[in-house]
């Protein structure tokens, strides 16, 4: 039921782990529903994401979308990271089964939550970023 890319990112997830003293960290989802994603970002003084890590409790699609989301934001500026939407994550994974689309939404939310934390810590506003 999963694409090869989803299976690849689930079986060999990229960027699993934590970042100590991250520039921003965000946790989204709900254990009740069976999906929790936590994303850590290390952002340099120029607003470029140097490192992205994640931890996820959830199904195959939840792990794969987290993994892909970290890949897509790495090396990007904060502004560019905002463009990594759930659609972008889904397309990069060659699609998801309909009942798993919410996992890609969670990935987008995780990026936003981590960026929001970064913005709050640095007392800045990021245009287009809403409080998750």
């Amino acid at each position: 039921m999963y694409s090869e890319k989803v299976m690849d990112h689930f079986s060999n997830p990229r960027n699993v782990g934590e970042i100590e003293n991250p520039s921003g960290v965000g946790t989204v989802g709900n254990a009740k529903c069976g999906d929790i994603m936590r994303m850590y970002l290390d952002i340099d003084e120029n607003g470029v994401i140097q490192e992205a890590k994640f931890k996820t409790f959830g199904c195959g699609a939840a792990v794969a979308t987290s993994s892909m989301a970290t890949e897509l934001v790495k090396g990007r500026t904060v502004r560019q990271a905002l463009e990594v939407t759930n659609k972008a994550v889904m397309e990069a994974l060659d699609g998801l089964p309909p009942e798993k689309v919410h996992c890609s939404l969670l990935a987008e939310e995780a990026i936003h939550a981590a960026l929001w934390d970064y913005a709050e810590k640095n007392h800045i506003t990021i245009d287009g970023l809403e409080k998750p």
Partner: protein, 396 residues
């Protein structure tokens, strides 16, 4: 491959397959026909019916062939509701039934029937006091499964049968997981109707039966022919019927031996998992459970991930996680025994068969251990748990 999903379906045994073979290309007659060519097919059908009846202490003419367990459940519940509506419109069932019963009950609720869903205890055993209290003058049917498909808990059928009899209420049991695996006697247990399915005990798919006690009124479920004494129209599935009969014969001959062997393997599996995997629990009753069923929850991880990784290691298993059911809620059975959602999401069901070996079990435990460890290492829930524990230690 290690196949540990025998509650989903079983392999057709060689003997059963051999018994079925002549009824495809050689004895292919429609058994309802008049010529002698059809007679052999009809004889085989009736022999099968007898084998099936014998296994539960029933008479041949109390067995009606169906397409499987879901049809039998639908038929029993809807027909009882229809036939007894003059007496009342109240049905009693449990919260942990298979959806073939639960959804049928929900359908009947829309038709104006009232249904009481009796709770189970933490082991998944129906609360008999609640069941007794739920009985009303207009109660027409009690339908409670013989053994649960997810957690394997065996229900106190004899006590339920006695309550039903006392109240003059029909008692139906969904024995899809139990038939052929544990002894069942319809008279001893006071069962009026019983559903079973061939492919759960090494018979073929697409064939099952409904036992209906003599004297119990039952309407026809499929109209259009005189088959099954005009109760279930449709040309008889002769190869399937021969197959389920052969499977019942085999099951009767080997039941005790299989029960002992599978119980020993199951208990070894349970002991190892609980001893070697931290934060794991057994779901269902410790002893009153199907010989081949083990069901666990592993905290901080999610079931579907576990299943995919097991599959990559050649192990077939199942889970009650939401992601495997296509809904957002985990198994209604795991919630009914009182597990919180986040724990219910991390369940694993391993169901054994007569072919399962000790090596299979040991290898599976080794693999599950590694996978659980791996999934926990990437779980934010586990991370939080470890952090909180560290904090507590530091404070202490």
């Amino acid at each position: 491959m290690i196949y540990l999903d025998n509650a989903a379906t079983t392999k057709v045994s060689e003997e059963v397959f051999e018994a079925m073979k002549p009824y495809f290309c050689e004895q292919y007659a429609n058994p309802s026909a008049i010529y002698s060519f059809a007679g052999k097919a009809m004889k085989a059908v009736e022999e099968s019916r007898k084998s099936i009846a014998d296994l539960i202490g029933a008479q041949s003419n109390e067995i009606y062939f169906t397409a499987g367990g879901s049809e039998s459940d639908n038929w029993a519940v809807k027909s009882a509701a229809e036939c007894c509506k003059a007496k009342g419109k109240h049905i009693i069932t449990s919260t942990i039934e298979h959806h073939a019963v639960l959804h049928t009950c929900q359908y009947l609720e829309k038709q104006g029937y009232e249904v009481t869903y009796v709770n189970v205890d933490e082991h998944g055993v129906i609360r008999l006091d609640e069941l007794e209290a739920a009985i009303r003058p207009d109660t027409i049917l009690i339908t409670v499964m013989a053994a649960n498909n997810e957690i394997g808990t065996i229900q106190p059928l004899k006590e339920i049968g006695a309550l039903a009899k006392k109240g003059g209420i029909l008692f139906h049991t969904d024995a899809v997981q139990a038939y052929g695996h544990i002894p069942l006697d319809v008279d001893e247990l006071g069962i009026d109707m019983l559903s079973a399915s061939g492919h759960k005990f090494h018979g073929p798919k697409g064939i099952g039966f409904l036992y209906v006690r003599k004297g119990v009124r039952i309407g026809s479920f499929v109209h259009g022919g005189a088959q099954e004494r005009s109760r279930r129209a449709g040309t008889l599935n002769v190869p399937g019927i021969v197959g389920i009969g052969a499977a019942a014969c085999r099951a009767a001959a080997s039941m005790q031996e299989r029960q002992e062997r599978e119980t020993a393997l199951r208990d070894h599996l349970i002991r190892r998992v609980l001893a070697e995997i931290p934060f794991s629990r057994l779901n269902g009753h410790g002893t009153d459970r199907l010989p081949g069923n083990a069901n666990f929850c592993f905290r901080f991880i999610e079931g579907e991930s576990l299943l995919i990784l097991l599959d990559q290691q050649g192990i077939c298993a199942s889970s009650g996680s939401a992601c495997t059911s296509g809904s957002l809620d985990p198994s209604h059975v795991l919630l009914a025994i009182g597990l919180p959602h986040e724990i219910a999401h991390g369940s694993l069901r391993l169901t054994l068969s007569e072919e399962t070996t000790m090596e299979d079990i040991d290898h599976t435990v080794d693999v599950v251990k590694k996978i659980v460890e791996r999934l926990r290492s990437m779980s934010p829930l586990y991370e939080d748990f470890i952090r909180q524990n560290r904090k507590k230690d530091e404070e202490a």
